[in-house]
Amino acid sequence: MSTASKPSASPAASSLTQPVNGQKADRVFRGVAYACGILILVTLAAVALFLLFRAWPLIGGDQQANSAVIENFTGGKAKSFWGYVGPLLFGTVLVAALALVLAFFVSIGIALFISHYAPKRLAAVLSYIVDILAAIPSVIYGLWGGLVLVPAIYPFWNWIAEYLGWIPLFAGPAANPPRTVATVALVLAIMILPIITSIARDIFLQTPKLLEEAALGLGATKWEMIKLSVLPFGKSGVISASMLGLGRALGETMAVLMILSPGLKYSFKLLQASQNQTIAANIAAQYPEADGIGVSVLIGTGLVLFVITFLVNLLARRITEKAGK
């Protein structure tokens, strides 16, 4: 709305029928639009530059002081910036990837249910429900995850550790309370589920009716029809949706912060506590008590996170673009 009134710098002009010399306004408007487009480029560059600037003491500053700060941060577990950010990065990717694995199949299922199984009227309601899931703020997921899910899910993880403990991933004993990577991944999966679902649903709905009807006409069952026409059609969309979900999970802060018991290891023990930590949650956790170089270190890790999510998102877009051609 605010833009609608913005260009009317010439107050006389308030209706289409009045002849006005709008060339100047035309140029200004065009200039503003152009500037706003460029601003996107500038902003992204500014994000990288400001972060780099604030993180500069890490590279150009006193290395001894840096490693002292990092030692202090980690209780002596890491000494260099890369020694610090390495396990964090590992934890970030591990948690996000797990969340994606958990969310992927469920999302596809829901998307198919909405697009091809549910009755039309129900489908609209269901879409709305999925969108509600997306609208709930992450701090509330954190609250719920930390206070409701954690105590409730222990028997389940314990069961898994007991019966599937021979798989290194599920090596027991399951931590109690389970403030573990597994629980966090589950919450993150719930959070990215609607993102993947809504994109997948839209793309499934776009499957040409002709293809579907052709498959059905040949006597295919509904599932075969989906397998033969809908899924191949939506493949690239689904992949890019997953990448977006992954990007979201990589950057999620509050839920991880409020649930996970952090650690700095390269470890795959999903059911044990104090194994991994994510970059975003680490920033939020250490930020309040950080000063000077400490803030620089955290901003440095933030820059790493920025680069990673940037690449993941870029890749996602590239995939869609390629498939769109």
Binding site: N176, K265, D291
Partner: protein
Amino acid sequence: MHTNLARRAFAALCGVALAVAAAACGDNTDPSDRPVSNASSISGSFAGAGASSQQTAVEAWIAGYQKTNPDAKISYNPSGSGAGVVTFLTGATVWAGSDKPLDSAQVEESKQVCSGSTAFDVPVYISPIAIVFNLRGVSDAGKHINMDAATIAKVFNGKITRWNDPTLAKQNPDLDLPDLPITVVHRSDKSGTTLNLLEYLKATAGKDWPYQLSENWPNDVGQGAKGTSGVISTIDQANGTIGYADLSQVGDMGTVAVKVGDEYTEISADAASKAVADSKLDESVPGANRVVLDINHATTEPGAYPIVLVSYDIACPIYRDENTARFAKSWLGYITGKAGQDQAKNATGSAPLPENIAQYVRASIDAIEVK
């Protein structure tokens, strides 16, 4: 259509502005207890920032202070000790709360904001740190577990891993300890509480505690949780957990009685005060007027509880602004005085400053120059 839209938007904006203006109230003041401002009361807006451990106490102090100085608007940002000191050194805040005293570089740096003088720190908030546990049959029955320093160190270092360990059983002949793994819960963020617990362990059980002092938890035992609340809620959630937290957060959870001298002392504000009273000033710190405590963790004073967090307030002896100086003097005077310490004790369960320390604190605050 267009002007109509603009008018409507304008009206909406006005509505919001009005709502905002009216909403400047909402303060929880007692209408029947309207404080009267007298000539000597302080007015203006003053900001502090720093240790989050002090947050609840500062909120109580602000409420108490405003009873006599209703025109003083005070805010405190619990941004953390480090951030609080940095903000203070830029001159943006009147005082800083910090879980650790200034280092010498910071004292030197403070000359810029303190008109050439150096900043000083005084202890304002002494919080006993409880070793809390959740053990069905013991903690919910309101019983304490006895531990000496070496036992605590071994538990937190993962050397004692089960509740029915003979070391524990020997010290607690009356308790029926179950065969259950011990889950240690510690702070995952940087914290003065951690540092003070580690200082205690290092001072009294150095043999069983091989780590360096740090505000971060040094080993991989058990689980980490963010903040005191994280620790407490984690302990709440599972049977067999043990951790540490400020007394104010403990509620009705089980606490460990710590061996001091030949007896086991249960945690209480007064017991913590006793331990602080038995401590000395750290005279080695540079700068004038500073009251830095060297807590005697190895105290053998009967009835003293030696695991305490001492949080300081950092202020200038000279402020550029006269009004700020008057505020700083009266504010610090209030919070370290009896009324302020009692207020904090009520709100947070903190230990009042013992008299032998309080006299030094008063002397330092008196040094704030007011014309």
